[in-house]
């Protein structure tokens, strides 16, 4: 049995920031039912990100604006532990699936709404996508880096979306544990704004002024000569000489031991200060030396000398990781058959458990794939189910199913 066996989650979310959280709950073993509009999740036509946040779920297509559809939704909620979605402020209440409506049918429900900005306040009525919150949090500023004179730079990892999804997972689990211990459910929320800011948690003010933090150089190599990327004769290498001994060994391996004794570069702190004040003499010198051999050759020499380093891997958009034997053996890869796409391979277990194994074996559902199955479980007769289909209240996959997923 998996860690969250016996936990049922109803996922009313669409796009990315909403559905990704319930997918992680499914990875952890929860039974997740995706309630999709009869017009389809707006993300379905964009296959790659869609399959990135939907595996492990069953799917019912339901028109919440029809009273019979709403009734089905609330009957589902009555069987659930957690409700999760990313509708903007007020929308769920208007649809009739707000916290109070859900609590009325399931008094101990854990109810999670994720927002762009927040639940109340000056910008709470706005929705918003990931880039806004990479901007507000300082992520683009730091990656530019603007402090070194570059424009700000957007990161393509969906930082705020993903952080928000994980914040909502933590929130749901906190509330669920409390519910299991006390019998009481509750409402909770997260936002892209707050979760993105948390990625910059080490930024703090001391007496109103910024605390000391390492900043990236204009060439986007790293923080200082001992903790940065270097291009080599072939390929790139990342070094991490943290201790004075490792710094000395790095300088010796690179054939410039005189830098090991230079007080400007003696330790992490002074190297970072030197780099921040534009003194990159030692970095430039090491870069010259690195250009004379391949990354792999330097890596072997640095390994022998005890200097932490790695050759930078180009995974070909993940292919080398997804077909890596260690990753497969450790369950860090998942594969299933995905409709017209065929084999679909994705990242697997983000957490593993010694006593409650992780099983990630259910592909993203087709639109309405489990509508009949779920309605039957709720006690609807076949004739009623046909009638709901005919009236457009629910939907199952059409014969000429248009989407690859």
């Amino acid at each position: 049995m998996s860690a969250l066996a016996g936990v049922r989650v109803i996922d009313f979310g669409q796009y990315l920031a909403g559905p990704f959280g319930p997918m992680i709950l499914a990875d952890l073993g929860a039974e997740v039912i995706k309630v999709e509009p009869v017009t389809g999740d707006g993300m379905r036509p964009v296959t790659k990100p869609f399959v990135g946040c939907q595996r492990g779920k069953r799917d019912i297509a339901l028109n919440l604006k029809d009273p019979r559809g709403l009734e089905v939704a609330l009957r589902l909620v009555a069987t659930a532990d957690v409700v999760h979605h990313n509708m903007t402020v007020g929308v769920a209440d208007r649809l009739g699936i707000g916290y109070e409506a859900c609590r009325a049918v399931k008094p101990d429900i854990v109810y999670c709404n994720t927002f762009a900005y927040g639940r109340e306040g000056p910008l709470a009525h706005f929705g918003g996508l990931d880039p806004l919150f990479q901007a507000s949090a300082g992520i683009e500023w730091d990656q530019g880096p603007v402090a070194a004179g570059n424009p700000p730079l957007y990161l393509r990892f969906g930082m705020a979306d993903t952080a928000n999804a994980f914040a909502s997972v933590v929130g749901c689990l906190l509330a669920l544990l409390h519910q299991r211990r006390s019998g009481e459910g509750q409402e909770l929320w997260t936002s892209l704004l707050d979760a993105a800011q948390w990625l910059e948690a080490d930024a703090l003010l001391v007496d109103g002024a910024p605390a000391t933090r390492p900043i990236l150089d204009a060439g986007q190599h790293g923080f200082d000569a001992g903790y940065r990327l270097y291009p080599t004769q072939e390929g790139w290498i990342q070094v991490a000489a943290a201790t004075p001994g490792q710094w000395r060994a790095l300088c010796e391996v690179l054939g410039c031991p005189e830098h090991a004794d230079d007080p400007r570069f003696a330790d992490l702190g002074t190297r970072a200060s030197a780099a921040a004040s534009g003194d990159d003499e030692v970095g430039a010198r090491l870069a010259e030396r690195f250009a004379t051999r391949t990354a792999l050759a330097w890596s072997r020499l640095l390994d022998d000398a005890g200097v932490p380093n790695e050759v930078v891997l180009d995974t070909k958009e993940g292919e080398l990781v997804l077909f890596d034997a260690d990753a497969e053996r450790l369950g860090l890869v998942a594969e299933y058959h995905q409709g017209r796409l065929g084999r679909l391979r994705q990242c697997g277990a983000l957490v593993t458990f010694s006593d409650t194994p992780v099983r990630i074996d259910r592909p993203p559902p087709r639109f309405g794939e489990h509508t009949r199955e779920i309605l039957t479980e709720l006690g609807f007769e076949a004739a009623e189910i046909d009638e709901l289909h005919a009236a457009g209240v629910v939907a199952s996959p059409p014969a000429d199913y248009p989407w690859p997923t």
Binding site: G127, P151, D194, L204, D207, L322, F353, D355
Partner: protein
């Protein structure tokens, strides 16, 4: 008002942000967290960000190389619900504080490990510093920069993802414990943090039909979202975006006053490549005529999605007011740190309305709670002084293990 995690005790053996911030999510929802440090303190204490990572907990120091210290730690672990550690795989076992040892005494213990590389991976013996995991996982190669080649990620992404996994994995195991009555070993890693943040862009299908790989592909220069970054007056920046969730009153181009043609994406798309370049230059020029905050206000008044691009310090109020919505969300908090003094820090990012989280306390000094915590276990002041100090420290009254070496940076992750 009760706390979500009231009555649960967590021992935090971690160094660095992934473990400490994962634990912080538990601490600020009511867990009794005790940070367990080597004599002299966690070596990262000199870093200012440490004050945020390690707030809302108590601190003890203990010399695990001293048999009495090791025994004291094990007795403490017998009272705990959770242990979090970030040593390289194998190190905790060598120290005598591995999962099997502690669970033999306390089978309800949830033990969460977060090394750089997962145990059993061929790299699990190599140093697990954040940037090394960025490099060898391939994550640095995914980010387009201002030059070809991999880019160092300024925000330590593997750690900043693994912190969520530490909290989520631990909580999931605590939920399971309510059902099974048993604890277990929960494992994640910085490498799995990388996977968490690349799930959307790392997937594989046999032939990539349906334009599968075109969406979200890495491009030079960086793609569509980067094109919506604009410089404004005085070298400041804004990021505009699609989809505010509200109906626009006028187009962005109209609000900004670009003039002469396109007023929306559809009309822009109908231009020839040369016309687009010409119009883009005109558009960028129009943005540069605006003062940042006035432009943000004007665009928002017309229901457009926009944010000033700020440093994290400015978001927290450096040089002015904090981001107004961060303030409304209670995300800007004042904390008196014993070492740094008056600080402004990020708040609690998960908002439980029934059992709200809050900052409990500033970061403790190393060993501030030695007497309190070990006193509760029945140790005398003399005994505590002996096993909480470093070998060679004059406070040490009794001997250490003959031949034992203190842990070094090269043995311990991050």
């Amino acid at each position: 008002m009760t706390d979500a995690l009231g009555g649960l005790r967590v021992l935090d053996l971690s160094w660095g942000p992934a473990g400490a911030l994962g634990v912080l999510l538990l601490a600020e929802h009511g867990a009794d967290v005790i940070k367990v440090e080597p004599p002299g303190g966690d070596p990262l204490r000199g870093y200012d960000g440490h004050a945020v990572w390690n707030r809302s907990r108590r601190s003890v120091t203990v010399n695990l190389q001293d048999p009495t210290g090791l025994e004291a730690f094990r007795r403490l672990a017998a009272t705990a619900d959770v242990v979090v550690e970030t040593f390289r795989p194998g190190v905790a076992d060598r120290l005598g504080i591995g999962y099997d040892t502690l669970a033999a005494v306390n089978p309800r213990l949830v033990y969460c490990s977060c090394p750089g590389w997962p145990e059993g991976h061929r790299r699990d013996g190599r140093p697990g510093w954040d940037a090394l995991v960025q490099a060898a996982s391939g994550q640095q190669w995914e980010q387009p920069g201002w030059r070809p080649g991999p880019v160092f990620l300024a925000v330590p992404l593997p750690s900043a993802a693994a912190m969520w996994l530490v909290a989520a994995g631990t909580l999931a195991a605590l939920v399971a414990r309510e059902r099974t009555g048993r604890g277990q070993h929960v494992r994640t890693s910085l490498f799995q943090g990388v996977l968490a943040y690349t799930t959307q862009i790392w997937s594989w299908v046999p032939d990539g039909g349906f334009g599968y790989h075109a969406v979200m592909a890495k491009t030079h220069p960086p793609g569509i979202h980067q094109e919506m970054v604009f410089e404004v007056a005085g070298g400041a920046w804004v990021h505009t975006s699609m989809m505010s969730g509200l109906p626009p009153k006028r187009s962005m181009d109209e609000v900004v006053g670009v003039g002469a043609e396109p007023t929306d994406a559809a009309r822009f798309g109908m231009l020839s490549e040369a016309e687009r370049a010409e119009f883009t230059a005109r558009r960028r020029e129009a943005y540069r005529r605006w003062e940042r905050d006035a432009l943000v206000t004007a665009l928002r008044e017309h229901n457009h999605a926009v944010e000033p691009i700020t440093s994290a310090a400015e978001s927290l109020g450096c040089g002015g007011r904090p981001h107004p919505q961060l303030t409304a969300n209670g995300m800007v908090v004042e904390v008196d740190d014993p070492a740094l003094g008056r600080t402004t820090q990020v708040g609690v990012p998960v908002h439980l309305l029934g059992t709200p989280g809050r900052v409990r306390a500033p970061r403790p000094a190393a060993g501030a709670h030695n007497a309190e915590v070990f006193g509760e276990l029945g140790y005398t002041a003399e005994q505590i002084a002996a096993f909480t100090a470093a070998p060679g420290d004059p406070a040490v009254a009794t001997g250490t293990v003959p031949g034992a070496e203190a842990p070094t940076g090269s043995e311990v992750d991050r």
